[in-house]
Symmetry: C2
Subunit: 447 residues, 2 copies
């Protein structure tokens, strides 16, 4: 953030500010307002060119938006809200306190408030909740000339102009035509002849993650959204999908690390909220780890007889946990990208087992050599070496199988695969590793 | 995948196939060709409508592309390659064997092969390597009418038509004007008056991850790319950025799980390649875990005296590893999104320390209660409870501090922060946890 502009805002040098703002885009202006003192920011907001003021407004944080709105006249509120695209207004109203939301609903036209209301009704992660309703709709018999005129006079937001949708008398979606097709075609051709009829569309209830997968697969810039009666009701654009992908990936990163996802960025989340989002898993792990402790406790006698065995437990548990986490994370990611589906379970286990056998053979041999060299000269060296190596190999195979299977099993029980990530896998594999190790050790050493 | 179409391709029922293809988009046709027998796929490819054949070609895997190209005449190769957008041709040539690449270069115009050659020269992760050169360029004095005519006759690919760039006599970028602005404006206005001069552009050498961050921040659909002399050389579009984000996130998921990232999807990677990408970290962990084993070995005597202590090592190591992984993963993700920067180190450590203290207090107390109840009635119960709880609390604080700091330190040494993810943190924290525990235990119990 440029310190200069912050001090200009702070000192309320509004003439200078106006010159500066003229050379800045909406995002950077919002950034400056966000980082300056609240009272000055409200005043500075009034200086923003009205052509971009609603844009600037949409990039502000909820706090700042509410502060600014509180100081504006009803007329000013109306202007900003009418300029705001439907999806930005939905975002704003969703987080606003009731009185602010009511004031906004009163300020805008009945038509707009009805649309916003309807979108707010869709479930949080659905296509309906992220769509905008600003679409250029054409009839099949419209000519290119009329279509261009419609676009020119519609005043529809830039995001959605690129593709125009063709609907029949019942508002059912029958085709799509892109702006470049219109521009490249003769003016007297009809839209119905030019339109693409193989359209990929979404249903209002579709999950937004599935939408993102389709956007990537089909290289789309926009996707029309239809309701249960096949009527065109809105459009989802690629910039919203970009946000969905980033949010969903961030959520998966959190889950894989055993952190309850929050929607707020790291630096804006308070210390207490951070602690809360992490303590749940840490406590769960305390419980599962206690089980591993109990397993160790069962072998207390064997350990007292042969304390050297303890030296290998961190390695066995670590290798198991990590091997399991590798498989689980790759499968979770593959499922998120739609590359791995539920029916792949058997194929996946077979694949991971073979991978595990290769890794197990290499690690087992490396480990055998290490123990043989490091503990040479003791009477039990060779036995110790093969006991640990065999345990390591079995642990790896068990971990990788569990690691790849659990995310898919979770999905089959309609749970989020990412819940089966590293922390849980580690806890399960820890116990498995210990049990394998001590059973082999006990029978080998007769303790 | 629809089984019906696969059997139609297999049986070479080309008349039926033609009807089917007419109702399918390029991605689905490519999908069908991909999943059918290679020889039949080559023949079926010839039936694809020539308006989308280069599109279909671009969605095929490298193997299938080579197989098809081998069967086509020089003329057919030329047609496909000339229709292929520059970035798709770059993708193809990059992975092609030398003889195939040479054949392609000979088939296309000198102009196109020069452009492709130049793009291939840019470093792999740079803006230059993902840009396309198909841009509509306008002069500032051009009228809207002429600009629309230029767009209409340019035949530029759909992706890039949306924004037109305005350049001066020296090809320096001076502004941008969107297709909708042109459509909304009077035909005799000049582009120079309509253009936006606050353009966010990239340099050919910029890192593609930084580009992705800018696209998200500024809600862009396209970004112009300039060379070292400020001359406009290309454009990066949002669909390429979508791919970059997905790839980079997948890479980070792999690294966080201790897997060397590959560019090939999970199911298409061979078992050997999978094993290879995982064995490196597993072996590294074997070595670091051996260090933890050595630490345990040093305390062999104490352990033999008080084997019950061993029962708590899995819990301490597990909690430490997970607490560290939580912090590291969140910081790595925050850095990838540009929310956390190098200069945040001190702020970050202070933040994570406070989070850690809260978590440590809660977990420490919970653990004290658990041990007090589970091991009640022994003479050393209270001492044991506070020894383990204090060790747990210290381990948590150490892990979180190390976990949040290492990714940033890595970045300061120009390393990838994601390398400092869970596996390495776990290894470090494991040793730390053991050392803390046994020092406290030894002095408390005098063993």
């Amino acid at each position: 953030m440029d310190k200069n502009i912050l001090s200009i805002i702070k000192d309320r040098q509004f003439d200078d500010l106006q010159v500066l703002f003229a050379h800045m885009n909406a995002v950077d202006i919002a950034d400056a307002l966000e980082h300056s003192d609240a009272a000055a920011a409200v005043e500075a907001f009034r200086i923003v060119d009205e052509r971009i003021s609603s844009d600037v407004f949409s990039y502000l944080s909820a706090d700042r938006q509410h502060a600014i709105l509180g100081k504006l006249s009803d007329n000013e509120v109306m202007e900003i809200m009418e300029d705001l695209s439907v999806d930005d207004m939905v975002d704003f109203v969703e987080d606003a306190p009731d009185d602010v939301a009511n004031r906004v609903f009163e300020a805008v036209s009945d038509e707009k408030s009805e649309i916003v209301d309807r979108i707010l009704d869709y479930p949080d992660d659905s296509a309906g909740s992220i769509m905008t309703t600003e679409i250029v709709e054409l009839a099949p018999l419209t000519t290119v000339k009329d279509a261009l005129h419609t676009i020119r006079t519609s005043g529809v937001d830039k995001e959605t102009i690129y593709t125009c949708y063709v609907i029949d008398d019942e508002r059912k979606l029958i085709g799509a035509v892109t702006a470049d097709t219109l521009l490249y075609s003769r003016l007297n051709e009809s839209v119905g002849d030019l339109m693409d009829v193989n359209i990929i569309s979404a249903n209002v209830d579709d999950d937004r993650e599935e939408l993102a997968t389709k956007f990537s697969k089909y290289d789309l810039l926009a996707m029309p959204v239809i309701n249960r009666n096949d009527r065109l009701v809105g459009i989802v654009t690629i910039d919203d999908i970009l946000r969905v992908i980033t949010e969903e990936d961030t959520e998966d990163f959190s889950k894989i690390a055993g952190v309850k996802p929050t929607e707020v960025p790291y630096m804006k989340t308070g210390v207490l909220a951070h602690a809360k989002s992490r303590i749940i898993w840490l406590i769960t792990l305390l419980v599962t780890a206690a089980v591993a402790g109990i397993v160790l406790g069962v072998f207390e006698d064997s350990l007292e007889q042969m304390a050297i065995l303890v030296a290998f437990t961190p390695m066995l548990m670590g290798a198991g946990g990590n091997a399991g986490a590798q498989s689980a994370t790759l499968v979770i990611r593959g499922m998120a990208l739609g590359e791995i589906v539920k029916s792949d379970l058997a194929k996946l286990i077979w694949r991971e087992t073979r991978i595990a056998i290769i890794c197990a053979a290499i690690l087992g041999l490396a480990n055998f050599a290490r123990i043989f060299l490091m503990y040479s000269g003791r009477e039990y060296t060779v036995t110790l070496a093969w006991v640990v190596s065999l345990s390591l190999a079995i642990t790896l195979i068990v971990s990788k199988t569990i690691g790849c299977a659990l995310p898919i099993v979770a999905k089959q029980f309609k749970m989020d695969p990412a819940v089966m990530a590293a922390p849980l896998i580690t806890a399960i594999v820890d116990c498995a590793a210990l049990i394998v190790f001590y059973f082999i050790a006990r029978s080998a050493f007769g303790i």
